[in-house]
Point group: C5
Chain length 96, copies 5
């Protein structure tokens, strides 16, 4: 899973019913301190996250394996909100 | 999903029946302002999009999970037209 | 799908029966003018393509979804020969 | 599979039951001497590994194919602890 | 599929029974002359290959589709030994 920061959202016109009502957030991968390092992409929110949250993103086919995205044509899904990251006993990120 | 700009189309000779009649568009990934950043690739249109549209592209196995691409040998599909992108309360892109 | 140029072929000793008799071509991704930009990789031909053809390559799990590659351990397959590419009303590539 | 070093762990709030109780470790890909070369990402531990271990990481859909991650929305899983790496008869890494 | 050179092997402690007894080789992607260009990763051998062999590697979910890796948590498998590579009628690699 990727460590990613939620930076925004998108309103899109989507025909596929499996995606109706899903919140589409814009995220960027980060390092272990929560600093963005990657390009923006769109992930389906399944945990009630929002802008400023550091989250866990599952991509590829496994994005269809949350209870909210079963068989949906999605390739990235937010599966968790990160509370803390710890490296060698030192906390590098903690949710405020 | 990727944020991508439709930049063109391709006519190809394809044997596989699951892909017959599908519109194949050329897209490039963009940043959150709609400026292209990635290399061109081909995605199946399922939403009636065209050149100049900013779209959401699902890639990998999930590209087979729209109602129009079930079990087709496709690895990228346009699942939505982006109406707007918003970062921290500021609109960075709005469809004209 | 990728836009790719067929640049060669490989003879390999393969045990898996699902791949027997399949033509394995070497391809490189290209830009929209057919100029190679990517590294070489091997794709299974399913459309009778050959060196010099610009083709559409499907990769990942969807490579198993042509009628000729069902359940085969392949991750890239040529699904079409590109006849033309058009950007904003201008033809950037046409098959000779 | 990737050769990766476990560098830390994350505490996250995850709704999906298939992931409950799973240890989420932060890893970085390495070269054959165990020196980190890649960006950090999160993998589910299935072998009791911890910080400082060099491990084998399976990613993509196959991450769902361990007995502990069946049908879970995960895209990276630690499937083994590396005991040694050998190049041309020379040991380049041995677990202490 | 990737063109890759077998450069070594790994001994790992793996719990998953589907991977028991499988030879895990370290490979690096190469160009069409067999010169390494990519980073090392681990692939399951299914064809009796060894150090110095140029091989075909299938990655992603299709790595589970050889008869020896069915439903195993593996994401890269060696499916063939390359005998020769030919570009535009010229042999660029031949197995010794």
């Amino acid at each position: 899973m990727k460590i990613a920061l939620v930076i925004g959202s998108t309103i899109s016109t989507i025909k596929d019913e499996a995606m109706h009502g899903r919140k589409l957030l814009i995220v960027r991968d980060t390092d272990t301190a929560g600093k963005v390092t990657g390009e923006p992409y769109v992930a389906v929110d399944t945990v009630g996250s929002g802008t400023g949250d550091l989250v866990l993103v599952t991509d590829g086919s496994s994005a269809r394996f949350t209870t909210q995205t079963t068989n949906a044509p999605v390739d990235a899904v937010i599966v968790g909100v990160i509370d803390s990251l710890e490296m060698s006993g030192k906390v590098t990120y903690r949710k405020e």
